[in-house]
Symmetry: C2
Subunit: 205 residues, 2 copies
């Protein structure tokens, strides 16, 4: 059944074509302007065709959301060489914020938007997110073992750290810091760097 195989390959190729178009449009024009019709236009097929390869728009953006996690997880993976778990945790915090500031659209999809949420719920395991979170768990758990940070439940402390960095990232992306105190991007960036240090110091025993 070589023909069936080829057909399957072609089906996957078209899915890939759609995803590649969606990715480019998304990164160039943002979420709002990446509509089914603009993707269809881009790949020179009718909008209805896209629905032969994806159940709904969110299924496309779920794939993009996974791409974002791939980038973040790769960043985290490079920090594995840092032996001191607290220094590694600090580096992860910095890497997380760098990722958010450099890829605000991906960050939005991954942590702020409701868009891919129905899809996340479908796959009962949030694999993309789990990989990133387990890096955090590992760091926190080692810090506790070596008594580098104040004792407490690993999950609770991990969520505390995630909450802080997510708060910084999302308030910055949604421009709430600028609303509070009008200042240049550089100033805010500097303040946030100091803030991360201040937060991390608070974790120490």
């Amino acid at each position: 059944m070589a023909i069936k195989d080829r057909k399957e390959r072609e089906k996957l190729d078209k899915r890939k074509l759609i995803i590649e178009s969606a990715t480019r449009l998304f990164l160039e024009m943002g979420y709002e302007k990446t509509s089914i019709r603009t993707i269809a236009d881009d790949i020179e097929y009718s909008p209805a065709t896209i629905y032969l390869y994806f159940k709904e728009k969110d299924e496309i953006f779920f794939v993009l959301h996974e791409q974002g996690f791939d980038i973040l997880n790769k960043e985290f993976a490079t920090l594995g060489s840092i032996k001191d778990p607290f220094k590694r945790l600090a580096a992860m915090g910095k890497a997380y914020l760098d990722f958010a500031f450099k890829n605000p659209d991906y960050y939005d999809l991954m942590f702020i938007m409701r868009a891919p949420l129905t899809e996340i719920a479908c796959h009962d395991k949030w694999e993309a997110g789990d990989a990133a979170i387990s890096h955090l768990f590992k760091g926190v758990s080692e810090c506790i073992d070596q008594k580098l940070i104040r004792d407490g439940d690993v999950f609770m402390i991990s969520m505390t750290i995630w909450s802080y960095v997510h708060g910084v990232a999302s308030l910055h992306i949604r421009e709430r810091f600028k609303s509070v105190k009008e200042s240049g991007d550089g100033e805010i960036q500097k303040m946030l760097k100091t803030s991360l240090d201040y937060f991390l110091a608070g974790l120490k025993v």
Copy 2:
């Protein structure tokens, strides 16, 4: 010119009518389902009429966003009686999270959505937000003066605290905690309470 006065009153009355309808629909059905047409239907006018009283949809939601801040600021005001600035800060953190969990739609509008942002930029002072933030500034500044928390720039520390509580609130509202570890709402609530205590302890000298 009594007639002109009456006309002005009537104009404000209709604005109020629109806002009241928008508020009810927003709280009952959420942001997505509160469209210009559903509001128009509700107040028994045509959609075009709404544009005689509001420049755009966001102008309506900017008013709702201000309503949210009124509620939050009232909560903060009741905490003014707490003399110990650190205890007051802790109470404010709890109040902030309580507000977010009880009024997720308002919270969304105030701190997560892009919707009222163009309007925020128009009014060059973000009055609604400023009132809330200045409560925080005051608390932080008093804590530093009395050496109750680690020294540092007032603005930076305030943003650190805001980032943490906003992170908790927004990750919870957008259901990212549930994605990480499937657990009941009660469990998460308890964990987050412990997390707040853990975070606050980290601020202390």
